[in-house]
């Protein structure tokens, strides 16, 4: 946490090198997270850029005692992604890029399953399973009570499990 305070202090002071290091460290993971949320590689890159730019140009709102700087970053990223979705809904057809991920068929299936969940469930599962965010950090990012995190994570896991099982069954039938 002390490191986060130091990094934050440098960001506020517009230390370009410190911010670039922060960017280099977190951008790939944030980009992957956002890609899971918006479903499009380029859009995720744009949203990630907006997220970092917001922190760089308007560094405020981070409270070190509430959680890690990374959680704060992902929280802003999530809000930016939500804004992106709102814009898509009013201006363009929704973008989906489910086949854009590299990897095996199994990878594609699990990501497809993830994409079928609600935005909040995707966020929860990604941040918990892949980013390893704590319940307290998830509460901060999603702006919900910690106790609610547990119940919603369960709901998200259960939803994913059901979709995954249906997908597996369908794949089995195709093979037969």
């Amino acid at each position: 946490m002390a490191d986060d305070r130091e990094v934050w202090s440098k960001i506020i002071q517009q230390d370009e090198a410190a911010f670039d290091a922060f960017y280099q460290e977190h951008a790939p993971r944030l980009h992957a997270f956002l890609r899971a949320l918006v479903g499009d590689r380029q859009a995720a890159e744009d949203v990630a850029q907006e997220t970092f730019l917001q922190i760089w140009t308007r560094p405020n709102g981070y409270e070190p005692e509430r959680g890690a700087l990374r959680a704060y970053l992902f929280g802003i990223g999530r809000k930016r992604a939500a804004e992106w979705w709102r814009q898509q809904k009013t201006t363009e057809p929704l973008l989906q890029e489910r086949n854009g991920w590299c990897g095996t068929e199994k990878n594609a299936l699990i990501l497809d399953a993830l994409h079928s969940l609600s935005e909040e469930q995707r966020t929860l599962l990604w941040l918990r399973e892949i980013e390893g965010q704590s319940y307290a950090e998830l509460a901060m990012i999603l702006e919900i009570p910690v106790g609610t995190v547990r119940s919603r994570l369960f709901a998200a896991r259960e939803a994913l499990r059901r979709v995954w099982q249906m997908g597996q069954s369908a794949a089995e039938k195709r093979r037969v």
Binding site: F19, D20, H31, E129, R150, F154
Partner: protein
């Protein structure tokens, strides 16, 4: 899911549905109530569920790991306004072109943008356009391109509160050009008209034979002499506003809103900064925090390396790194310039902001900072 009940005592027993949320919490390493733990220990269905959740988590992490191998695109993080306003100020102080010209030049650069169509200019061309540089006493020069063939493009006028003049190309006479000049000077005072050529319409046109390469002096009553110099070119050049020619003059090294690239990365963006070196022995100096000072000149200076010029780009190598200085307008007519890079340069007074300016390196102390 099965809906069994496990528990030694009825009040502490838990169904699978009730325990399911704690199964999920257990995946996350959270502490769960004893009664939930007891249920899990004796319920195969819940243990299966726990494995399912764990497996799904593993699948997600594996799938995501593919995306996580991608590198972040290179970004440049500029400081918030403050230092960049400072760049503007530094450029403002360092430039030699008239300030109103500079202001309009910036607008011009924005308009021209990526579509800069630069035409080659020959120092001693056989063109039909005479490019005049008219310098009032103590004032900044005004550039006028005059066609000797196109009557619509054969005159140039300047109107101000004090000085009004019009120069017209009348005819070409070998290497010379016959020009007609009307000029009037009034002491600047409130009430002077400065918005039309009406004040000189009744004046007789004085005719001169002008030879490029030589200075022509035109006396204006009450002011002194206008000094006119010029050269033949083969086109009407693109002007950037305010009479500033897009094409650089014969001995000009002009750096406008430069961006310095180190390899493929932006090492510094001096948007709004500008400097013009147009006299022998002058150089344009750029100081960038973290990069040091770069001294650009048309003539060789001690310790300088040769740099290649392509219109609005200067490419060079220093300390094993490839650099390119890219500007908004063409830099010089020369094919090469000289660059001296002092990576350890520190501005006097410990100031850490970047700066751009012009110095007379022939007479200045070697490391005198230009601010």
């Amino acid at each position: 899911m099965a809906n069994g009940t496990v528990g030694s005592r009825k009040e502490e027993s838990m169904t699978c549905d009730q325990a399911a949320e704690f199964v999920s919490a257990l995946c996350d390493g959270e502490t769960i109530p004893r009664v939930a733990a007891e249920h899990l220990s004796g319920c195969e269905a819940c243990r299966t569920l726990l494995r399912s959740y764990s497996d799904l988590g593993a699948e997600l992490r594996f799938a995501a790991s593919v995306a996580l191998t991608e590198e972040a695109p290179v970004r440049v993080w500029r400081q918030r306004p403050g230092i960049w306003r400072n760049w503007w100020r530094k450029g403002w102080e360092g430039m030699r072109i008239p300030r109103f010209v500079f202001a309009s030049m910036l607008v011009g650069i924005v308009v021209l943008g990526s579509g800069l169509a630069v035409i080659g200019v020959h120092a001693r061309g056989e063109g039909n356009v005479i490019l005049l540089k008219i310098s009032p006493p103590g004032g900044q020069p005004i550039v006028c391109p005059l066609s000797t063939v196109d009557k619509k493009l054969n005159s140039c006028a300047v109107v101000s509160r004090a000085l009004t003049f019009e120069v017209k190309a009348l005819s070409k006479d070998g290497d010379r050009v016959n020009v007609g000049v009307r000029a009037k000077y009034e002491s600047p005072q409130i009430g002077n008209s400065y918005d039309s050529l009406a004040s000189i319409e009744g004046l007789p046109e004085e005719q001169y034979s002008f030879e490029p390469g030589k200075a022509l002096r035109v006396d204006v009553a009450g002011l002194g002499a206008l000094t006119i110099t010029g050269e033949w070119i083969d086109h009407i050049p693109v002007m950037i506003g305010g009479g500033q020619n897009l094409d650089p003059g014969p001995d000009e090294l002009r750096i406008v809103s430069p961006v310095l690239l180190r390899g493929k990365e932006v090492a510094g963006d001096m948007e709004g900064g500008s400097a013009l070196a147009d006299k022998p022995g002058e150089s344009v100096n750029i100081f960038l925090p973290g990069e040091g000072q770069f001294q650009f000149s048309l003539s060789q200076t001690p310790g300088a390396v040769q740099a290649h010029v392509q219109l609005n780009r200067i490419s060079f190598e220093s300390n094993g790194q490839l650099y390119a200085l890219v500007t908004g307008v063409p830099i010089t007519r020369e094919k090469q310039v000289w660059v001296r890079h002092d990576a350890n340069f520190k501005p006097s007074g410990g100031a850490e902001d970047g700066s751009i300016g012009v110095t007379d390196f022939a007479n200045a102390a070697p490391d005198r900072p230009i601010r």
